[in-house]
């Protein structure tokens, strides 16, 4: 396990190595630690607090390969104070990091079994480390499927990597809500392929991340296919401030999303996810 810092507020400084534009308003920041001796590792699905001095912090899932921490990547939509200020940064600029925090996709629990990954929009970013992990340890798993829904083809994240992922043994199935005539792929909601994809409910884990409503339908869809609700995992988004369960912002019923989550078994949150604005 990763040792906890004595003081949860301590920040490690990093340098931005490159910034890759993804979809409109979304960029991926690759960071390296300034302290070469920094021993940082993370589990797929965990998040960091990214810190811009004078502006503030934002909770962002790590979206890179957990097997390679020489460049730590975060895929960020510019939507709040901090992320909009980050948008103005250039390679060479500094960012602070606290982390990693939170729970991980239970990749070990499904060793020897099948995994269906269901992502919506930017929800692919927190799942990407799990995809890299599954590819890296491909022989340890049975069938691995990625169902990825986005609004339109231009909203598909990491499109250039899908071929490599397929070559790595993952059945990648993108689907978009609206498409121009040039689009040759599937059109509709990501719940549609989930209803028909080959799936043995006795040996399958489902990992899903996206907007709350999408995750609810995906998780219920998986349950309808016979997958037990405790083998369906969602990654919740809530306001994060301290990231260590002390500030109260991220509470969702009995759950502190920052330390009990963000990755949670669906049976634990199923009832409360039905209550609007809870």
């Amino acid at each position: 396990m990763i040792a906890l810092p004595a003081n949860p507020w301590q920040v490690m400084m990093t340098t931005i190595r490159d910034i890759v534009p993804e979809t409109p308003g979304v960029q991926t920041y690759a960071l390296t630690f300034d302290d070469a001796a920094a021993r940082y590792s993370f589990l797929p699905g965990q998040f960091n607090m990214l810190y811009l001095p004078g502006v503030g912090e934002s909770a962002i899932s790590v979206s890179s390969d957990p097997g390679d921490t020489t460049k730590l990547r975060h895929t960020v939509r510019a939507v709040g104070n901090v992320t909009r200020a980050m948008e103005k940064l250039r390679p060479g600029d500094k960012l602070g990091v606290r982390g990693p925090f939170g729970t991980a996709w239970p990749v070990d629990e499904f060793r020897g079994k099948d995994v269906v990954v269901v992502a919506g929009g930017l929800g692919l970013a927190p799942l990407r480390p799990a995809i890299y992990h599954l590819i890296r340890h491909r022989a340890d798993y049975g069938r691995v499927t990625l169902l990825y829904g986005a609004r339109s083809p231009t909203d598909l994240l990491n499109e250039t990597e899908y071929e490599a992922w397929r070559a790595g043994g993952i059945d990648v199935q993108p689907i978009v809500n609206v498409a121009p005539e040039s689009w040759r792929g599937a059109v509709g909601f990501v719940t549609a392929p989930l209803a028909t994809v080959p799936l043995d409910p006795t040996r399958t884990g489902v990992f899903t991340c996206g907007p709350d409503v999408m995750m609810r339908f995906v998780a219920e869809g998986a349950v309808n296919r016979g997958v037990p609700a405790n083998r369906v995992f969602v990654s919740l988004e809530r306001n994060m401030n301290c990231a260590v369960g002390l500030c109260g912002h991220c509470q969702f019923g009995p759950t502190f999303v920052c330390k009990d989550g963000p990755v949670l078994p669906f049976d634990r949150v199923r009832q409360l996810m039905l209550v609007e604005n809870f």
Binding site: P8, W9, Q10, G56, V79, R238, C242, V244, P254
Partner: protein, 371 residues
Amino acid sequence: MIGTAPGAYSWLPKSALQGLFDRLRELGYEVVGPRVADGAVTLGEITSLAELPAGVRDEQEPGKYRLTVIEGGGYFDHVVGPHSLKPFLFPPRTTVLQVLRVRDSWVAHTPEPPRPKRAVIGVRSCDLHALAIQDRVFLGGPHRDPEYAARREGLFLVAVNCGRSAATCFCVSMDTGPAVTGGADLILTELPDGFVVRVGTEGGGNVLAGLDCRECTPAELAEAESVPKRAASQQTRRLNPATVHDTLMNNLQHPRWDDAAKRCLSCANCTMVCPTCFCSTVNEVTDLAGEQTTRERVWESCFNEEHSWTGSGAVHPTTKTRYRQWLTHKLATWIDQFGSSGCVGCGRCITWCPVGIDLTEEVAAMEGSRE
């Protein structure tokens, strides 16, 4: 020779109470106690008996707090004011990180938290229970709060058994008072001529040893026992801690939430005076040149819209959803998280609510009718 082992009782004459202040100050403690300020009994540094609110009684009702003075009354006739132990351990404003620009980068360091030696006199049973709850929040998880831990170490507590209840008190139903059962170094029960002092800890015994005490008479002990019983008998409000969890969690769509939201101003007063509410947020405070940044942690409240802000909007965008978050957390999901209710029945949220919303009434309304 008086008993100074935990559990021992002695008699401290009223005239000797000043000795307790002096002894604590000799031992290096800042002495904090109740005094009248801004029309309320609040906690602050005091050096002498004369500063205690002798004869002051607080009349409390939903949305109402008034002081009256009774000639010849006791030092601790008041009940609880807007302050609790919370600000002394979890300050309303504190620095968690300091960041300096050095050439093209930043150097960040976490300041060493202060370790004050502080004695608080007059702490009530409800607030001792609240302290135990905050200990679980700030020290019981995988990440300990460094500031809270540092301030907790040097805390010396002189508790007082309540001799009266305010109309807003309901500690009896929460099993958190009014009699002090533990968690303090010394426990006082005020009688007309002096105090029955019970030793709570070894440290408390050491402080007591230097004071002008004698053994208690059986009559004094018997009278002291009746003091918190008198306070208990005055309480009319109640919650049922055995059923409140399910009452709320099975009624998340109850129309009473809309009703409460029509009255609630979302002002956050209840969360500020609550001795267990622990929400905070960190603000960036920078100098004009942008060379220095201080990350300040300040009290926050689930009644503020920005509290639940995410990239896709506020999770709790309305007063109804914020009031529901507060009450369900306080009375229900707190039990799931920490093994006890987040409420100690002190009644502060009722008194200090500007529109007098009474959580015991809100729960009762949902108890009586299922959604």
